[in-house]
Symmetry: C2
Subunit: 384 residues, 2 copies
């Protein structure tokens, strides 16, 4: 039986998510917004019976069994951990810091019977699911290099807000890079052990963000990841990622995996392949078409992934009679909170590398750091 859903957030993803949930038969009972007005507006637009600006009203809502959290990264941890504590299943976007991610992992481990998955939906995009399958079947032979490029217009909101602030989880690396880092660990079946990166904020002010305000989040980022846990610098897959959000009017979302006997390239939502012997690329999976509300082209891979993820959620919950019970099978490919912590750890290692200029190790947190120590670090970082 499908669980009742409560949604946190009134942004563009929430706006797409609700119709997708409804299309699969989920009932969306409640929506939370930063203000009553925003929440009311979305509730009216999408026909959601209850809206509020107080988080507990959604978390404690008796018809809500699954909580979907699409709010600014700095607020995510608090809601996600609380929802699990109340006994609700959780689907959520990334948190702002590794410490927050670690707290979410701790909660998820404490309630293993509850569903807790991250909203990195690229894994669910059919092109990437097919790519992973072909990689396992050794279409490319021995994997050598993954090369990812995402180019597009600015990620900044119209008004000054968290998207402008590096420390609030804004920036191309945190917003888009996260999903790429998650995807690459899914595709290669390995995690990064060393990373190197460079971040830039080329546009620090614009027509809407000016005066004493400055953008601190990156609009250009490239980083390299050496995959595999061998510790040696040779061997293992090299990943290179270039993110550039100073290209209005453009959209490039390209993921290429080169191996010893061929290569696979996902462009947007389509998958192409070429074996070393052949003279040209073959289309392996065409675009299946987007049947949801009108969206920006750039977000299509994510939204088509989201659509597949919602289908998988439906299958997962349908397998059981009880509203809050779910089967692991259909959502086994979904990123866990542990994956979320890994991704956040890589993001922070890339940022550290951009400051230090050196290769940084990816060391997953195994216990919560002393909060005073963190404060010192945050102050240190602010100075730069």
């Amino acid at each position: 039986m499908l669980p009742g859903v409560g949604v946190f957030g009134t942004g563009s993803t929430a706006r797409v998510l609700v119709p997708l949930l409804k299309a699969e038969g989920f009932e969306v009972h409640a929506v939370w917004g930063k203000s009553e007005e925003e929440a009311g507006c979305l509730a009216k637009e999408l026909g959601i019976p209850f809206h509020t600006s107080r988080s507990d009203d959604v978390l404690l809502h008796q018809d809500v069994d699954l909580v979907c959290i699409y709010i600014p990264p700095s607020m995510t941890r608090q809601i996600a951990v609380k929802a699990l504590g109340i006994g609700k299943n959780v689907l959520c976007e990334k948190a702002a810091t590794a410490v927050d991610s670690f707290k979410m992992v701790t909660a998820a481990r404490y309630y293993p019977q509850l569903l807790s998955i991250m909203g990195n939906t690229l894994r669910f995009l059919p092109a990437f699911a097919a790519m992973r399958q072909l990689l396992v079947e050794r279409y490319v032979g021995e994997m050598q290099v993954c090369d990812v490029r995402v180019y597009g217009p600015s990620l900044l909101d119209q008004a000054y807000g968290w998207t402008c602030e590096e420390l609030m989880g804004g920036g191309g690396l945190h917003t888009v890079g996260s999903s790429v880092i998650d995807l690459l660990s899914y595709l290669t079946g390995e995690r990064a052990h060393r990373v190197h990166g460079l971040l830039r904020t080329f546009v620090q002010q614009n027509g809407l963000i000016r005066g004493i305000r400055r953008v601190t989040s990156d609009d250009f980022c490239f980083f390299q990841m050496l995959m595999g846990g061998t510790g040696s610098r040779s061997g293992g897959v090299c990943c290179t990622v270039t993110l550039n959000f100073n290209m209005p009017g453009s959209f490039v979302h390209e993921v290429m995996v080169v191996g010893s006997t061929g290569r696979l390239v996902a462009r947007g939502t389509e998958l192409y392949g070429q074996r070393n012997g052949s003279k040209s690329e073959e289309l392996l999976l065409g675009d299946s078409g987007w049947v949801g509300p009108e969206v920006k082209e750039m977000t299509l891979p994510h939204l088509q992934g989201l659509s597949s993820m919602v289908k998988a959620l439906r299958e997962s919950f349908q397998a059981h009679e009880e509203r809050r019970s779910w089967a692991r099978g259909p959502v086994s490919m979904a990123p866990t909170f542990e994956d979320g912590l890994y991704v956040q750890t890589v993001v922070e290692a890339v940022k550290r590398s951009s400051c230090s200029g050196e290769w940084e190790c990816v060391e997953i947190m195994s216990q919560e750091p002393d909060p005073n120590h963190n404060l010192c670090e945050a102050l240190q970082r602010n100075k730069n």
Copy 2:
């Protein structure tokens, strides 16, 4: 009046160069090959009256006023320096090391009345000449990022030779990266002051290179250059270059410059542009077509550049009555031996960075190092 030409080398570039020279009215009097047989073969094929395997026979040939050197990098310095010493004009390919490049610079400075230019021909490709002009006219506004990708099949020769040996000047970075490094300094009008890179040799043996022999030259290389001499890490153009020669059946040669108000992209020999306001790319310069002998698609940008360079050489020499005199104007955009030293210095800094994992400074040699010190360094490097 056009000078008589002597050509060193019997490889694919020499094979294309000779017809280009003849088409512009140059007389090619002599060709040098590693063996009498190779030289004789090319001489017969291209109708060159004299061939030899002794370099002095070409250098001292009385009808030869311009020497074109297209031989393995490790032999280039010796021939180039000797040719200048004998009073011949020189067009040549890159040397194997910065020390060799420095010796060539010293010779070129000593004979300023002789023409001495490097064979990095991408500057002469019409697409890049137009790109440079548009950058000067601020088509893209403030330059932010240059992103270069060259993908293609293996660069290794059929048999084991210098292309397999990193220390002999083989590898994607040295062979193709050099021309990209030169091009980017031309396009941006700035030089790299810090670089970071990663080199890999994914294919260490193949059907022809096996047993105790191993390829040591890179088939994958990723590097970043921070341009401008300010010394600060922020500000200045960021260049990222990805070279991958494990992609048989593919050819990508893409140079993109992104700026504050638009961007320019050269794909192969064509130039495209898009200003931030506009919805799509415009074709700024189409392919002019290749009318020389049949060549690999991958080498087209270089060979079309070579063709333009030969035209410029003709104009330069035509301006004067005397066979060995030339005018600076038509070849003013050509890379000098000083540019060659810069390029070689960057190549070596990228290699150092790949070993150290750190950003390396680009410091142009200003005096010849102690040869004993070099020997030690070479031995050290061999150990890794």
